[in-house]
Symmetry: D2
Subunit: 102 residues, 4 copies
């Protein structure tokens, strides 16, 4: 089962600056080979269910290994059986419907 | 790695009444043997990372099998390496701080 | 417009123990008079849109005032125009479908 | 209080294709004048707390007016009192910490 997901990892107990943990997580994503895209409040990712959640788990492991005692992550995950859809399709599908002046 | 998680499954394309899909998902949770608790906007669940996400996946499979072409699920997942914590601990930890001086 | 919502506040930069911040937020909820219910990964709340989000804002203000430099909150919010529904209705609607064959 | 937020609106009871509702919501965002950016599983937005949540409310109103009887929205909202931060800052802060090509 293929998924399109979005997740944002919040390390807890490591102070106020989180960007190096998010960057470490981006490196885990790079290593995974899965298609992904960073935005200002999370990362889009797509792939088989098992792989996507295994990658998010590796993010947790990496961030804990960097010293974060606790992590709270929010994930959105979409599946569909009517047709295939990619990250690009989803954005294109919306922008094609924006009207003249949208 | 043990997790405390919360998730809510939204079947798309099956009309406005979602409760029978949520109920089917509760039965998947029952079958799993994992500790879980329904609330008004999702379900708390705890257990090993792999098992928790395998159960959520089975919810998607069950709900798709019931006819939902598309599903969007929101998940929060917490991990910690400083100590163990259960669903009950989390609630108790907050309620102990309410009231006189909370 | 009435909403049923669920939210969980994660204070950042205040160490690993978050329960006293969550408890402070519960007190803001009590002061609001809105119907609400704590669970292990957030709080259910219902009421008019403006009031619910004003309460969540006051939680942020209270938690910042307690010293948290940064907060990340996840909110789910549901609205419907087909009929009224309360927190209790939502749970009852699911549990009525559990059991004999679900 | 300024916020950086991310939200995704899921209309329920209108069939499987949601993009025209998401597009309508993008138009509400355009009208608001707030800085925002669509991604594959939601939209980043920044601005004063009241304005951001008023815009999300207008999205609900617009989508209900288009015929959706029910909507479930997931929102992440971040506030900080230690310094100002924009959508661009958040992405730049992470990418600056990625290693040689990471």
């Amino acid at each position: 089962m293929n998924v399109i997901a979005d997740f944002s990892v919040v390390p807890i107990g490591v102070g106020v600056s989180l960007s190096r943990y998010v960057a470490a997580c981006q490196e885990v994503l790079e290593e995974s080979g899965l298609s992904h895209r960073l935005h200002a409040y999370g990362t889009n990712i797509e792939g088989p269910w098992e792989e996507v959640f295994a990658v998010i788990r590796r993010c947790h492991e990496r961030v804990h290994a960097m010293g974060a005692p606790r992590i709270s992550t929010t994930i959105k995950v979409g599946t569909r059986i009517d047709r295939d859809q990619t990250l690009n399709d989803k954005v294109a599908s919306v922008t094609s419907k924006l009207g003249g002046g949208g």
